[in-house]
Symmetry: C2
Subunit: 132 residues, 2 copies
Amino acid sequence: MAVRWYSTVIEARDHRALARWWAEALGWQTAFDTDEEVVLWPPWAQELGPKLPFHQVPPGLVFVPVGHDKQTKNRIHLDFAPHVDDDRDAEIERLLALGATRTDVGQGDGVTWDVLADPEGNEFCVLSSRDV
Amino acid sequence: MAVRWYSTVIEARDHRALARWWAEALGWQTAFDTDEEVVLWPPWAQELGPKLPFHQVPPGLVFVPVGHDKQTKNRIHLDFAPHVDDDRDAEIERLLALGATRTDVGQGDGVTWDVLADPEGNEFCVLSSRDV
């Protein structure tokens, strides 16, 4: 049996502040908070997680402190998608109001996604709206 | 309603080769394969996904081609965990036999996780065994 994808880990200058930001951005909850890491879970994790086989429990987001700023465009980034019933533009405005910034990674015009960055500069995409 | 975490995206020199590697490493399936991206899903996605509300569908892994090698230690990485009923050492040996390498990110001795890198040098951790 293979390993389970347990989390995506984001290094941060201020891991608590960045975790708070993402919790607000995603509507996720803090599962664990120490000087070494902050773990975020989606709000359904407590109910859904114990019902699922070990390998099917979805990954969390983990924030760990480092002593240096982000240096280059990240090789690994996160993609997010709104539901078709949500207001995509309003969602992007909400993220910008929280402190996200628009960033240019050479995506050009006419792509179906928007590229933003979190307060520590980590690029992420907001994809087109969808229902699956 | 917030956006759904849709995927973690990994840039790659050879996105098809790296996707094949991770599919084998995780026991995941290729959901989508083009010159622009390869999308991996866990084997239970087809059955489980349609039963879940949109925001609860777990994220996939996406591999996209780029024209440059990885430059620095990644700011974002993936963590994996074996189940307590699995043989953790054997799982690490399996990943190494597939082409993972052990890498030193300054983790020191005595930590409970092993740091490996995939064939393009992306660091990932194999955490301690667990049952939740």
